[in-house]
Structures are given as C-alpha cells and as structure tokens.
Symmetry: C2
C-alpha cells in the first residue's frame, strides 16, 4: 500500500516560536518534504514532472488545528494524494502525536503549471496514477475568504533567504508575513484553530509586499482576514479563526 506515506519527526527548538509550539512554516516544510519523498519513491519526482514541461504549484491550504505540536515532541507526519480532477490534485497531510491523536490536518490543492506558458495545465493521468488518487468530477470548494478592510498593514521586503532550494519564495514564508503583522500581544494570547489560505500570484525576491489584516470579533468568534498585496494587486488571501490561549500556558 503506497497511497499513504508517513514519517516520524522530532520537533526541534528552532522549529518553534515563543509559545513553545511548532510554527506554520516549519509544519509545512516538514509536510511538503514527506510528500516529496513519497513522489520520489513512486518515481514521480520533479525531473519526471519537468519531462512534461510542467511544475507543481500550491494554490490553497485549508488547515485545521486541534493542538499544535510542541518542542521536543515526537510526531507522525503522513500524507495522501486523495483525489484529483481535470486541473487540481487534493493532497492531505496529517500531524499526529505519539498516542495517535490528530493534531493538525492540512488539506492542500496542487495544480500543474506549464513552464513555458506559466498557465495551469490539465493533469496527465500518468503523473498521478501511482498515488492511487480517486479521480473526481467536481471542484472542491473551501470557505470563502473575505477581504480585510483597508487600514492595518506592515511592509515586508522579500529577502534572499525567503527563497528556498526550489528556486521560489517558499509558500510557507507567507505565514511569517501574515502572522507577524498581528503582533506579539495577540500571538502570545491566541491560538489559531483554522486557516484557509489562497495563493494567487508569486512574489519575487526584492518585492516589498504589504501584509494587510482586519480583526473581526463577536461574542463567540474571533477571526482575522488577511491579504498580501503589492500596490492594488493581491498575491495571497487568508482567513484565520482563533481562540484564546488558556492562562495556565497550556497548548490549547
């Protein structure tokens, strides 16, 4: 059975923030690495994809957090390419603790981009066949992401070390810009429980991006809306649902 692929991971101190929990860039880094290993095992690595003149892009993450992995914790990272349709592949990732409890679930939408035209290509069956994904007709819908009201933002310059060895600004880096803007006080007193993020355009080295956000509160509900913009153009949109961190500093 090759459909599901998994690997153990020990959460390192440098993968965690001041809350002692694993950061999103670190979780996504580890998750994508596990999927790259599965692709290599199934002989569907980047060279094979490039032989079709294509490359993978990630368009959406929908992340559900029960509990964030903690410093020093041994977690199991698993992935499965569950479904695909004409244009999109739906890959799931799960982080589980040593007792088998689901900590984090990441649903992701991958597409194939034509390296010449830079447009999304239909998915060749040969590419996905060994993953034993189910072919579906419908396009999956994730929660609608509303735009933040204009007003609150900080600028971030895209740095050399935001580009990873895949030659692009690592998708996971967007999380640093999206979250940092919320500030120390908010980030140490709240924990995210759901994130929907859509990547619209690719930012490049040297760009000065603006990370906009709006906080929406009512009695039982705390949500933040986000956009990464350059001028009037949107590069990335996100909506995040939060709850307050309990006072005893527990991770829930």
């Amino acid at each position: 059975m090759v459909a599901k692929y998994q690997k153990e991971h020990e959460v390192a101190y440098y993968e965690c923030d001041i809350n002692q929990t694993m950061t999103f860039p670190a979780m996504l880094g580890v998750a994508i690495k596990v999927s790259e290993e599965q692709s290599a095992v199934l002989e569907r690595g980047p060279e094979y994809i490039r032989s079709f003149g294509l490359t993978w892009i990630i368009t959406t993450y929908h992340i559900t957090v029960n509990r964030l992995p903690m410093v020093g914790e041994q977690i199991m990272v698993s992935t499965q390419a569950k479904e695909y349709n004409k244009y999109f592949c739906y890959r799931y990732f799960w982080l589980h603790d040593a007792q088998g409890n689901e900590l984090v679930k990441i649903e992701s939408v991958f597409a194939l981009m034509d390296l010449e035209t830079r447009k999304v290509s239909s998915v060749p069956d040969e590419i996905v066949a060994p993953f034993e994904s189910e072919k579906i007709k419908r396009i999956k819908r994730y929660p609608k992401i509303n735009s933040p009201e204009k007003g609150h933002f900080l600028p971030y310059r895209v740095r050399f070390y935001d580009i990873d060895s895949n030659q692009h600004v690592n998708n996971a880096m967007y999380f640093n810009w999206l979250l940092d803007v919320l500030g120390y006080e908010f980030l140490t007193t709240h924990q995210v429980k759901e994130i929907t993020i859509r990547f619209d355009r690719e930012v490049e080295y040297g760009n000065l991006v603006e990370s906009h956000f709006e906080t929406i509160r009512d009695e039982n509900h705390l949500e933040t809306l986000h956009e990464i913009r350059i001028g009037e153009t949107t590069y990335c949109e996100a909506a995040m649902k939060w709850h307050e961190r309990t006072k005893n500093n527990e991770n829930n």
Copy 2:
C-alpha cells in the same frame, strides 16, 4: 566516552537556499540542538543551569567552511565542549559528509549570564565536569573584526518569528540580516569560506536594526565587514571571507 556527541542529519530542502546549500541559520540550529541533547544526556540541561541562577549565552562563532552541505545530503553533526577557563567555554561543532570529510567547523564561545544581574558569571566546575572539558588559563583570541565604513545598510525589523522557543532572538537569525544585505547577485556568485561573528548585545522583538556592510577586495582576497546597529550602538559584528563560486554551479 561522552566527551564527543554526534547525530546524523538529512539536509531538507527548506534548510537550503537557492544555491542548493544549507543556510547558516539551519546549520547552527541543528548544531545547537545536538549540543542541547548532549547536555540533556549529561544532566546539564537548562533547568540544571537555572538552578545556579544562570543561563548560557553565545558570544562568538568562528566558522570555517570547506564545502556547504547540500540538499538531500546525509551529514554527521558532532560537538565537543573542548576547553573552558574562568569565564568562557569553548565548544566545537563539526559537520561531516557521509565519507567522513569535514565540511564545516564551528568554534563557539559560550558564557554563563547571571539571570538577575544580567552579567557574565564565572563558570562553576560542576556545570562543566561531565563534559570532560580541559580547564585552561588563557582566553582564546579570534581574528579581530574591523568595522565597516559607514555607508551601505538596510533596515530589518525584528519579527515575532525571529524569537524561538528559547524566548530570545535566535543567534542564528542574525545571519539572515548580515547576509541578506549583500544582495542576490553577490550571494549567488560567491561562497563564504570563513566567518567570525561576535554578539555584543541582545536585540529584542520590535527593534529596527540596521545591517551595515563594506566589501573589501584585492587581487586574491574578498572580505566583507558587518555590523548590526541600532542608532550608534553595535549589537553584532562580523567579518566574512569569500571566494567566487565556480561557473559549473559546483559547490566549492
């Protein structure tokens, strides 16, 4: 024999930059983790150190690079607390490739800071005894770091995710500010062979630091001088020696 401690590490894509080689923050993260594991094994973890009212700080790294670890490479990370004197502990780290070749050597200087007075404390013998370090009289000297001429700098805001689970701005993060300022063109055509870096003061969340640099070239010699400053105060100084990357994109 516990004096030397080592662990294998597979270099992940997200630990590497566009040159396909491991970044300094990633190398130092992995190295420090190995030393923390050694300390835990020897029952000299952070709680033990805190029982003396102390905490470790790193004052200096002197790094020699033969070849940087590459994406996907299996490396051996080893460490030894080699020597100590009244105030300083000299810990070495080595990264070796699978054939046993030394890739990177990191000499580091640790000191113990009194948590109340925030001053450097003398080193209690009980803390270092199990590491089997040699007690020496002399203070080791590393190459003098000259100041860069004023002129070239970029500002960097200290972000939430620059603080790690140890509650401080991770020392390794300074490398992002020190190096990013050199620019894409320089960083993709040169490779570092030696770094001396000294940490003078701790930057804090929200600080806007300036990363200053000067490039010094003569026929057989390329060096960059660096300072991280806030106003007229120096927080970190570094000198780096470089050579040109060979055209065939080899890592040497």
